[in-house]
């Protein structure tokens, strides 16, 4: 429950208007910092929901697959330039962002990850690597400005950032494959 409290504190902190404004003012920070932090706040708060609604989660998410699909859809949606742009322009969309990322992505992630088989985990992991690479390609390659609110240079920065994340994920994967993980037990 302590974790859930930390999650709530993080959530409230991120929702403070000056904090939100600052984080959203830089495109890459908006996507690769604010959004993951929102997911993390939900991830931390998930314990609370697991305790309050065990039956609901057990019924709908017994093998983790529905939850992880929801997580993937929600996070992928927020990778769209249009979604980010609207979050800044329309209050409703901003509200949806602050609800969907923690509660429809963070919470299901926590509830599903442990339930997934290792193949399921690998698929999710690979999906995100591929998604980041595709994003890098789009955001670096596009010669026109994709968002009203962000300049072309910020867009390219975001592309390079996504590529860096994909590279880190690949390196992580490689070391998982090449180093015997039982060494660490």
């Amino acid at each position: 429950m302590k974790l859930a409290k930390y999650g709530l504190v993080l959530y409230i902190f991120l929702a403070l208007p000056p904090v939100a404004n600052l984080l959203e003012s830089i495109m890459i920070v908006h996507m690769h910092m604010q959004m993951p932090l929102l997911v993390a706040s939900g991830f931390l708060m998930a314990g609370f929901f697991q305790l309050k609604f065990p039956n609901f989660l057990e019924k709908w998410n017994s093998n983790g697959i529905p939850g992880i699909i929801l997580f993937v859809i929600i996070w992928s949606y927020w990778m769209l330039p249009r979604a980010m742009d609207e979050a800044i322009t329309l209050q409703v969309v901003e509200l949806f962002k602050f609800i969907s990322l923690p509660f429809l992505a963070g919470v299901p992630l926590r509830d599903s990850w442990k339930k997934l088989s290792s193949i399921g985990k690998d698929i999710v992991y690979l999906y995100f690597i591929i998604m980041f690479i595709v994003m890098a390609w789009i955001y670096i390659g596009s010669e026109s400005q994709l968002c009203n609110n962000y300049l072309l240079v910020e867009q390219k920065t975001l592309g390079w950032g996504s590529l860096a994340i994909a590279a880190c994920m690949i390196i992580y994967l490689l070391q998982l494959i090449f180093i015997d993980q039982s060494e660490f037990e």
Partner: protein, 559 residues
């Protein structure tokens, strides 16, 4: 606690194994280069001190900036790198029961590459083709051979990195369920940092080579400076890790105590490795083309290193107090008296640690935006790094010599040599207090660094600096005496001291210590986290510098 030889062989074979003689040769060779560089660098330091004070005038064939470039590179890069490699390879050999033959070969390859590289660099400086100072910022352009020499130095370091990684993996495979010995863990940390630190500078140098040859016309100055400090700042923390490895592991044993929590030590290493590289931006607080908000974020990045530093300070003082009390120290500070102040192996690193308090305080000044405006590029900065690297790091290195070298050369530290060491330590300390102290003060008064003549036509502000510059010369003279004594001590212990066995003073953990968890060994994960932190810090400013770049600069030669 004398054990019979048989028991020792059985329970703690490493103790008698020590560093085997083939490995000792590797380390001794690196240490020899280190102390030859120290001697030359020290002489150049005195020359600078005297020139700054106006006491000598350099002849027309030798200019101040040539001397300064050589002083910076020989001491900052060559001395520290070769000393660290010699010391760490000895630690590795001791902790893992000998180097693998192919690792030893890599260490020799690294040695040869570095010697070739240094020879190229030094030749260009001597020929006055590379008076670009140790930071070699473009648009100042040196002769291409200078940069190619730097590439060789980096290749040499990489050979040593791969050697360590290979030996580590080999040991890991053969010791399932055991954590690596703490000395080997430190060595891994240092070489991982070294490898990733040098990536930045390697990219920089590879862009400078074609530029200095005239194959490309211009270069992006901001990117080069950023890549340089990616490396430069990390180098500082490489020394720091090397120094604290001695503080944590050897100093407690020398004072007759145990080492502090093994787990905490490893945590400090991991934190330094992961958090380090982005600190480089604090060297660029005055650089244009990095936005205010990025600079603001980097205050946190560079202050985050204070966390492991404070953990270290805390741990060391606990060890001192515990040991002092065990030896019968009473009262609030009575334990201080029980520490072996007359043992140079303790005194030198102890003064190093104390000076780190002042170095750290100065560092906080440097990394604070507003205060940096006052001290940037003044002699304050020179004072600062002579305290941090010149005392905290270098005195630790000196202290290490008094057991490492006799151990490696199978000789003994005589009481007489110990006394010489104590005198050396005191001379060095007093010399640095005088030189670095006056540099700090005169820096606050505005005296610029890296400037051979600061009389400014006798302007009254400049005149107020003169007394302090005289003090540089006094300090510098003492320091050169210190260098000479140290170099004498090192080579005496290497070749002439009486034969015998010297202990490798590795501290044992406390009896009731809980075992260290295996997750600390996840170097793959630490490296990914390091890369993530680098990406977070560098993607935004570098893309900005590249896409919003001003016209690049052609090579410029100001001398």
């Amino acid at each position: 606690m004398e054990q019979s030889l048989r028991e020792t062989i059985h329970e703690n074979p490493k103790k008698i194994l020590g560093v085997n003689s083939q490995d000792a040769k590797v380390s001794l060779s690196y240490l020899t280069v280190a102390f030859v560089s120290l001697l030359i660098g020290g002489i150049l330091g005195l020359v600078q001190g005297l020139e700054r004070a106006g006491l000598i005038q350099l002849p027309s064939w030798l200019n101040y900036y040539q001397v300064l470039t050589a002083h910076g590179l020989l001491l900052l890069v060559v001395f520290t790198a070769t000393f660290s490699i010699g010391y760490l390879y000895a630690n590795l050999s001791h902790a893992l029961g000998g180097l693998l033959p192919k690792v030893r070969k890599l260490a020799w390859t690294g040695f040869v590459l570095m010697i070739i590289g240094v020879a190229m660099v030094v030749t260009m400086i001597v020929l006055n083709e590379a008076s670009v100072l140790y930071t070699f910022y473009p648009p100042l352009a040196a002769h291409p051979i200078f940069y190619i020499g730097l590439v060789f130095v980096v290749l040499g370091i990489w050979a040593c990195c791969f050697g360590v990684f290979i030996n580590y993996r080999h040991w890991r495979k053969n010791h399932p369920g055991e954590v690596t010995p703490i000395l080997a863990f430190f060595t891994m940390g240092v070489f991982v940092l070294w490898f990733f630190a040098s990536l930045g500078v390697t990219i920089e140098v590879f862009t400078l080579i074609p530029w200095s040859m005239g194959l490309v016309e211009t270069t992006n100055v901001m990117v080069a400076r950023t890549l340089f400090w990616w490396f430069g700042h990390t180098l500082v923390n490489i020394w720091y890790l090397v120094a604290i490895s001695a503080w944590y592991v050897f100093v407690p044993r020398i004072i007759g105590g145990r080492h502090f929590s093994d787990k905490l030590i490893r945590l400090v290493v991991i934190l330094v490795v992961i958090l380090n590289i982005p600190g480089g931006f604090h060297h660029q607080i005055i650089d244009p083309a990095i936005s205010q908000s990025i600079k603001f974020l980097h205050v946190f990045m560079s202050l985050s290193i204070a966390v492991p530093s404070l953990m270290t300070a805390f741990a060391m003082f606990v060890v001192f107090e515990r040991t002092g009390r065990r030896l019968g120290g009473k009262g609030l500070l009575g334990w201080l008296k029980k520490l072996p102040w007359g043992d140079v192996r303790f005194l030198a690193p102890m003064i190093a640690m104390i000076s780190f308090i002042f170095g750290g305080a100065g560092g906080i000044v440097n990394t604070s935006n507003q205060l940096n405006q006052v001290i940037h590029n003044t002699m304050w900065v020179v004072g600062h790094f002579h305290i941090t690297v010149g005392v905290s790091v270098v005195l630790t290195f000196f202290g290490i010599c008094y057991w490492l070298i006799p151990h490696l050369s199978k000789r003994k530290l005589t009481p007489k040599m110990n006394k010489i060491g104590i005198i050396q330590t005191l001379i060095w300390t007093v010399g640095m207090i005088i030189m670095s102290g006056s540099m700090h003060i005169v820096g606050l008064l505005g005296d610029p660094r890296r400037t051979s003549d600061t009389t400014y036509g006798g302007h009254e502000a400049a005149a107020s600096w003169v007394p302090f510059e005289m003090l540089f010369a006094v300090g510098a003279t003492l320091l050169l005496i210190g260098v000479i004594i140290q170099v004498y001590a090192v080579f005496n212990m290497m070749f002439f001291a009486p034969k015998g066995n010297t202990e490798y003073p590795v501290a044992e953990p406390e009896d009731d210590e809980t075992p260290t968890p295996m997750w600390t060994e996840r170097w793959g994960l630490w490296i990914v986290l390091l890369l993530m932190v680098v990406a977070m810090a560098y993607v935004v400013p570098i893309v900005d510098m590249l896409l919003n770049a001003p016209p690049g600069s052609p090579p410029i030669r100001t001398w």
